[in-house]
Assembly symmetry: C2
Homo-oligomer: 109 residues x 2
């Protein structure tokens, strides 16, 4: 793997890593529907606000989210809706995995 390829794969990995967390995936899903402030997301997820703030920072750092300060609140929104396309593929993989499980559990049926 040459250096340029390595660099490109690292850049891709950074974005995927930012997505690869249950809480962050949930927030991306919600922000696809409408923008939300940190307090709202904190309430929806049910975690410490500092935790949510850090998760949002990660998504913003890789360019997936945008934020806008309005008064004392900060509203986040989905900056790259194309990531939503991932989810249908993920669901398909999950579905296939379920089927495979069945075959593994009942091989001779």
């Amino acid at each position: 793997m040459d250096a340029a390829t390595q660099a490109r794969m690292e850049a891709r990995a950074r974005i995927l890593k930012a997505l690869a967390h249950p809480t962050r995936l949930f927030m991306v899903d919600e922000l696809a529907k409408q923008e939300r402030c940190v307090a709202e997301l904190t309430e929806m997820v049910g975690a410490d606000m500092s935790t949510i703030s850090k998760h949002l920072s990660q998504l913003k750092a890789v360019g997936l989210l945008e934020d806008e300060k309005r008064g004392t609140q900060v509203f986040y929104r989905l900056a790259r809706p194309c990531v939503l396309n991932f989810f249908s593929c993920l669901e398909a993989v999950m579905q296939e995995n379920l089927q495979q499980q069945i075959f593994l559990v009942r091989p001779g049926a």
Copy 2:
């Protein structure tokens, strides 16, 4: 976030996590072109074979790869080509990020 949503997000995160590594992304890319045995991938990546084997196991564990043993070799292939659709979105995000960088570096220009 209710329990069912939590579980679904965790399942999605597991798959994305398996993808979110430079070496694993590279191998997915290569396996999209043609199946490869472990030795070939080891050579292409330039890492220890045990490391490559573990990376492949992770991708297989989440259902993205299939393997087939032929003689003493094990050939891996991409089981879910839909993940390739991710990459164009990732490239777009990377491209956008580059542009933003320029604006950030030269805000008044």
